[in-house]
Amino acid sequence: MGIELIIGAIKAVVIVVMVLNLAGLLLWFERKGSALIQDRVGANRAAVFGIGRRLGLPNLGLMNTLLADPIKLFTKEDFAPDGADRFLHGLAPFLALFPVLVAFAVVPIGDVLKIGSYSINLQAADLNVAALYILATLGVGVYGIALGGWASNNRWALLGGIRASAQMISYDLAMGLAIIAVVITYGTLDLQEICRIQGGVWFGWIPRWGILVQPVSFILLLTAGMAESKRVPFDLPEGESELVAGYFTEYSGGKQAVFMMTDFAEIVLVSVLITTFFFGGWQVPWLYRDGFHFPGGAYLALPNVVVAIAGVAAFFIKTLVFCWLQILVRWTLPRFRYDQLMRLGWKGLVPLGLANLLVTAFIVVAVEAKY
């Protein structure tokens, strides 16, 4: 009992630290990546005591985003606007961040890692209703945004908050439908099981990844996920040219930092969900627990630690690819108008999700009925 508690606590801490670090890394991706896309330079000034200036290190912008910006944000004055609800104004950013961080508890980073006689399942919480848990945390995530907008005593913030929460609950539905279709295909709600089922190959060489079985769900989840995290093209709630900064107009300093962290943590969450459901999670093609089994018949035996680390590395690479995809989409597409956004959600994605669900259910029953 004691050792399991310690292992569980270590896993939880590792995952939270990993997510927060990824969020910071994504901030850097975003600044330099957007600069690359927009044909400009981006952040390139900050350096610590001039170290590396001859080598051109400040041009990478790392000091800027990873050191200077957080220090600036967290040492700013912390205030609540006049007439605003102080308690809610302070609570809202954390209420927004909390569900996104705890959603990572059920995400499987890798297969089992055998240390001595312990098999550690590389997943912080082994729930067998993990997909429902993800939907629950996404539903609770609406509160921080809505209250942040309302508690600012500012009509533009309130408008942004209302739009954001309406958008989030609409696209919650589309996401739920996409996830349900995937769950029906795999027959289980447990994310680690879903990753494991995506091992193996078809026809000897095609890995059994979810995207080949559920392409429509992939599109749905990607779109709905980007709308959930209020990224462009769905970022009307924080419409920079229209609502000043939408629901976080009246936030500065540490609270704004927490809101931005929420934004980036949600990008990571959506990428992680897409990776787990559709791209095999930590599965490396042709890598099984004892080593590589290549399609030609070649076999390479590997110790368990190497297999586990390869799985974790594969997971991170896939997640970063999808984070980059979302950043790319952000700096490419213009923003949707609010009624277009709502129309897409309710009249486009929800019927598509339902049709997908119907077809998936038919096919699953038909395939099983053969046996």
């Binding site: 729930l127 429902l132 609406v142 309302w150 929460s165 609950i169 709600l189």
Partner: protein, 192 residues
């Protein structure tokens, strides 16, 4: 579920419930209620009913409470200014509710056999398969009727809360003449 965890959740639930009825601002009441419902969802999970527990969080905390929040904003309800008045009602109401609480507490605690522990249940108790199996076999009629009920509720809520186009024109939110053609043309431009 360990006793210390239960005591913690029980205290949070009771504080949340008091928060609902005592606080002046409707939004604060709503947040207290959301906390209580979340807490009860966790209690469900502790009792082994995982699916129902998470469904409670998804449906109640994630959807119904947000609906309440929207209505509070739509009606622009402020913090209630006068907290006094109706002292007799409050006194007798509280006393009656306290008596009810005491009686129910004693009654319910003994209802499940006071020292009954959580017995052993099937390994997949509370899983979504078992729940679905029961819903689609023993309780099928209820399930189908509930879906019709939800449809009726949706139609009813829209019918109650909408404003007819005539009312919208009267309140100045819409321009009447020629708006149909202009809307269609604008839509064509935005999609084209």
């Amino acid at each position: 579920m360990p006793l210390w965890l239960f005591i913690f959740l029980a205290v949070v639930a009771i504080i949340g419930a008091f928060g609902v009825i005592i606080q002046r601002s409707p939004v604060h009441c709503l947040l207290a209620l959301a906390l209580t419902l979340f807490d009860i969802g966790v209690l469900f999970i502790g009792l082994g009913a995982e699916t129902v527990g998470f469904l409670q969080i998804i449906i109640y905390v994630g959807a119904i409470m947000v609906l309440f929040l929207f209505v509070i904003w739509l009606l622009n309800l402020q913090t209630e200014a006068d907290g006094g008045g109706h002292l007799a009602l409050k006194f007798f109401g509280s006393t009656a509710a306290a008596a009810l609480a005491a009686e129910l507490f004693v009654f319910f605690s003994k209802a499940a056999a006071p020292t009954a522990r959580m017995g052993l249940v099937a390994k997949d108790y509370g899983s979504i398969e078992l729940l679905a199996r029961m819903l689609f076999s023993d309780y099928l009629v209820g399930f189908e009727v509930t879906s019709v009920l939800l449809l009726a509720a949706i139609v009813g809520a829209i019918a109650l809360a909408r404003r007819t186009p005539a009312e919208l024109v009267r309140s100045g939110s819409t321009v009447k003449s020629g708006s149909g053609a202009r809307c269609r043309r604008r839509w064509a431009i935005s999609w084209g």
